[in-house]
């Protein structure tokens, strides 16, 4: 059977896209990041002599070591939390057919499509001292003080990270588990192995690439997490490397230390990213053998009974409380207002009226923020899509045997936090003598930040595309360009769309690089939210949050609809 077409693939057009991808990555990612990292080695704003003193002093500072170990520790705990929430769901989804499946899928897609700033807001409104959960508990048990004090603690960070990232575990592991389900467990049982032994010796060795791959990704996100730490941690004892980079660069204006920290951050996350990519390729070779095999006989796809049914019900309740309730709280709170201080909240549209009141020329600040965010997101993703497709072709065609080398390079924006990227742009724009190019730079930064998410979706689809489709088209007389547009692109369509949806959501919620780049007068949705939360105006923040939720879910549904129609 035909397995590859070398040399005479879809040539020119993919070559053009590949060049476009590289042209995007080099000046907008590698150069600015390189500029930041190189600052660590030069004193005097990059013009001085080469010195390792800055790195040296960072590595001997006990303050910095405390930050590094805290960053690693919170990422580790957060990953464990995400695994703890995600794995049971992955088991249930991959082993049973039940009516509540769509609830699990829908609820777990909430954090997927919503920006982290909304998650933060939801946590404050639901788990906060005056949040819905505490209010409910106080009323139920007639308490004077809120019983749960988790906000602004280590627990809050872990919980928020766990909630925000468990869908990654759920989707990666469930998808993989479903594909590698076969009769090996039954064979083990028939040979006298009990459930625990079978799980440890047969199931776990089969699914571990998916577990590790999702864990690596979650760890990476938590390691470079910014908004959640900044808002939910809220104190110097919960400072991570990213928060410290931000503080050094924008508050203390110590660029050399910021750059030194950036090197440490990039070094750690590159290793994690490499692990993620290697486990991903292990997953691909893991499923390759199963693609043509017969589905497993019993157990799988069965209707749950007894203990399994109970587990499913408990799990659904659990993730609704954890994932859906904070989001629902945001929506609910946005429609409430206290007539007087300390009074019972009543239904009100006050915040929405306030948001759209004219106070920013002819257009209100909120409308301006939505307009800006929308334009940035759409422009950034329209640039990132062709680049991601081009880079996927490079990975597949140029390095068919060692795809992890280009993959690591192209996925690097995932390992470099957007704080560092933003810092890079900040440096470069200072060379440009503060030209009013901050919006242009924001589009560039968002394109780079969203690129890996589209790549992550398109590359596996391209690698799994049977080469015989391309070969058939070419042999029927269609040239490379026609073959690309009429055969290959339509087959990558779903991957491109789902990557793009995710990318738009990421861009709409992007705050890190935006905080670094935005000029005073430029406002975006997350910036508006950040300001409102910062001034403890949670009601108004919830109203903005609700509009953002509406926008994200609206876009998500539109794309889901398009996926079937296109």
């Amino acid at each position: 059977m035909l397995t590859s077409i070398r040399g005479r693939g879809t040539g020119s057009i993919t070559f053009f896209l590949s060049i476009f991808g590289i042209m995007l990555l080099v000046p907008l990612f590698f150069v600015p990041v390189g500029a930041v990292l190189s600052r660590a080695f030069f004193s005097d704003g990059g013009r001085g002599r080469l010195t390792f003193a800055a790195i040296g002093s960072l590595l001997t500072s006990s303050y910095i070591w405390r930050i590094i170990s805290f960053t690693l520790l919170q990422a580790l705990f957060s990953t464990a939390a995400a695994l703890l929430i995600g794995l049971p769901g992955a088991f249930l989804l991959s082993h049973y057919r039940f009516r509540g499946r769509f609830i699990i899928r829908a609820v777990s897609s909430i954090p997927f499509v919503l920006p982290s700033i909304i998650v933060v807001l939801g946590f404050v409104v639901f788990f906060g001292n005056n949040g819905y959960l505490n209010t409910l508990l106080m009323q139920l048990f007639r308490l004077d003080k809120p019983p749960l004090r988790i906000l602004y603690t280590f627990k809050a960070i872990i919980l928020a990270h766990g909630f925000y990232n468990f869908p990654i575990v759920l989707s990666i592991v469930a998808g993989y588990w479903e594909q590698v389900n076969d009769n090996t467990e039954l064979a083990a049982y028939s040979l006298g192995s009990n459930r625990i032994r079978t799980f440890l010796s047969v199931t776990l060795p089969k699914i571990y690439p998916a577990i590790f791959s999702s864990a690596a990704l979650v760890f990476l996100f938590c390691f470079t997490s910014f908004a959640i730490i900044l808002v939910l941690g809220g104190g110097p004892q919960f400072t991570t490397i990213e928060v410290e980079i931000f503080r050094q660069a924008r508050v203390s204006l110590d660029m050399q230390s910021a750059a030194g920290l950036a090197i440490i951050s990039v070094a750690v996350s590159s290793v994690i990213l490499l692990l993620y990519i290697l486990f991903q390729s292990r997953m691909r070779s893991g499923t390759a053998g199963f693609r043509l095999s017969i589905p497993a006989a019993s157990e799988i796809n069965s209707t749950p009974a007894g203990a399994a049914r109970l587990a499913i019900i408990l799990y659904i309740i659990g993730i609704i409380v954890l994932a859906a309730a904070p989001i629902a709280s945001v929506v609910l709170r946005s429609f409430q207002a206290q007539p007087t201080r300390g009074a019972e909240a009543v239904f009100s549209l006050k915040w929405y009226r306030q948001l759209f009141a004219a106070e920013y020329g002819t257009i209100s600040l909120t409308a301006e923020a939505f307009k800006n965010s929308f334009i940035i997101a759409v422009s950034a993703v329209s640039i990132a899509i062709p680049a991601a497709v081009g880079l996927s072709y490079i990975t597949k065609d140029v390095f068919p045997r060692k795809p992890f080398i280009p993959e690591l390079l192209f996925m690097m924006p995932l390992a470099v936090s957007s704080i560092i990227l933003g810092l890079g742009y900040f440096f470069l724009s200072s060379f440009a003598d503060r030209l009013p190019i901050d919006r242009l730079l924001m589009v560039g930064a968002h394109a780079i930040i969203t690129l890996p998410f589209i790549l992550r979706s398109v590359l596996p689809a391209l690698q799994n595309m049977r080469p015989s489709y391309t070969a058939a088209s070419l042999s029927l007389g269609a040239g490379p360009v026609r073959t690309f547009f009429s055969i290959e692109l339509p087959m990558l369509k779903n991957a491109v769309i789902s990557g793009a949806v995710f990318a738009v959501a990421i861009s709409l919620g992007e705050i890190n690089a935006t905080l670094m780049l935005a000029a005073e007068q430029t406002i975006t949705i997350p910036l508006l939210l950040y300001r409102l939360i910062g001034s403890y105006n949670f009601y108004a923040a919830c109203a903005v949050g609700t509009l953002l939720i509406l926008l994200c879910t609206g876009l998500f549904s539109l794309f889901e609809y398009l996926r079937d129609k296109l």
């Binding site: 059977m1 035909l2 077409i5 070398r6 040399g7 005479r8 049977r466 015989s468 489709y469 070969a471 058939a472 088209s473 070419l474 042999s475 029927l476 007389g477 269609a478 040239g479 490379p480 026609r482 073959t483 009429s486 055969i487 339509p490 087959m491």
Partner: protein, 374 residues
């Protein structure tokens, strides 16, 4: 339809080098001929096909299609239709769009495409399938549509890459007949790849047996079955007896061979062999080789009735012992042991293990396979 007058496909010393594998082949497919490339998986069949189609580039050699050198012609400009093992029907197009794809790529008038699509659907007996989607089709139907699609642009050469291997046995048999009928009707020059020897024997005008990147034998189905050029070719097409022998003498009527074991003075007769039979350079004074015959050509007689006798025109194996059997429906394939040599024979009636038998094989059914001198 353009075909037949020119000179078909010629593959001249095509070489493709891989780290652990080298392909080196030369052969011809005459206009309108149906030739099958057969061999075990990994022998280089599909690589050969990909080189001809232009999906791979060869390191050396020439490929001529109807006289024109294909080397610098890109895939999409070669007039070659391919049918793939996995059908490769475009899932984003319905059946008619799939069949018309090659014609649209050539910017042919819509009405002509429409007419041609209907013609082809009729040809593959799926006339009422016009607007159906690919996902509604069964495996066999998909492969017929794939054949129709490949034939639509009237290619000068049709390549089929194990087109039936994903189908069940019954369907394979009926569909291969259909493929052959359509191929004859259009008399399109065809190269067919399979690892199934039965398929190769039943379909082909000629068969090319490949092994490890090289051609072992080229011949008609009858030739490769009854006069294999090598041990590999003999064993590839089913059960066979292969005894190591030395050639003693040869004339127009027969070739005489004897066993290397001096204690066994028996001489055997077989058809005279020719240099044409072998794929390797051999001189006519070859000594070592194999005595070959198929089990269907043997007859079993009661051991005691012809004790020590010989029958003119026949080779006789006295004192063989049955060591095992396999029932095939029409009879029994018997494994027998004769002086440490394994023989494969056929019997209509049952013979229990341990029975003493004598085996008769007509000299005309035996052939001498000279040993490769490499």
């Amino acid at each position: 339809m353009k075909h037949a007058e020119t000179d078909g496909l010629e593959v001249r010393n095509i070489k493709k080098l891989y780290p652990e594998f080298m392909l080196d082949v030369s052969f011809k497919v005459n206009p309108g001929e149906f030739v099958t490339l057969v061999g075990p998986s990994g022998c280089g069949k599909t690589t050969t096909l990909s080189l001809i189609a232009g999906l791979l580039e060869s390191d050396e050699g020439t490929i001529l299609l109807n006289g024109s050198d294909q080397q610098s012609v890109p895939v999409w400009k070669r007039s070659i239709g391919i049918v793939f093992q996995d059908y490769a029907l475009f899932p984003n197009m319905n059946i008619s769009k799939n069949i018309g794809y090659g014609l649209r790529a050539r910017k042919i008038d819509k009405r002509i495409i429409h007419r041609r699509t209907r013609e082809l659907l009729k040809l593959v007996n799926l006339s009422n399938y016009v607007g159906r989607s690919v996902s509604e089709l069964s495996g066999g139907e998909k492969q017929r549509i794939a054949l129709a699609r490949a034939l639509a642009p009237e290619p000068e050469l049709l390549l089929l890459d194990e087109p039936l291997s994903a189908l069940d046995a019954q369907l394979r048999k009926s569909l291969r007949k259909e493929i052959r009928t359509i191929q004859k009707k259009l008399s399109v020059t065809t190269l067919y790849v399979t690892h199934d020897q039965e398929e190769a024997l039943s379909l082909s005008d000629r068969i090319i047996i490949m092994n490890n990147g090289r051609i072992e034998q080229i011949g008609t189905p009858q030739e490769v079955y009854t006069t294999p050029a090598s041990k590999f070719a003999a064993e590839f097409f089913g059960r066979a007896t292969l005894l190591p022998v030395n050639a003693v003498s040869q004339d127009d009527q027969s070739c005489r061979v004897n066993l290397p074991d001096i204690k066994l003075q028996t001489q055997f007769f077989c058809r005279p062999w020719t240099l044409k039979q072998t794929m390797f350079p051999a001189s006519s004074c070859v000594k070592h080789g194999l005595l070959f015959f198929r089990p269907e050509d043997t007859a079993i007689i009661d051991a005691e009735s012809i004790m020590g006798e010989t029958t003119p025109g026949y080779n006789t194996f006295h004192g063989a012992k049955v060591t095992g059997y396999e029932y095939s429906g029409s009879g029994y394939y018997i494994d027998a042991l004769w002086h440490d040599c394994r023989l494969s024979v056929f019997s209509r009636s049952f013979l229990s293990e341990g029975s003493n038998i004598a085996i008769l094989v007509p000299a005309a059914a035996c052939c001498f396979i000279p040993e490769s001198q490499e």
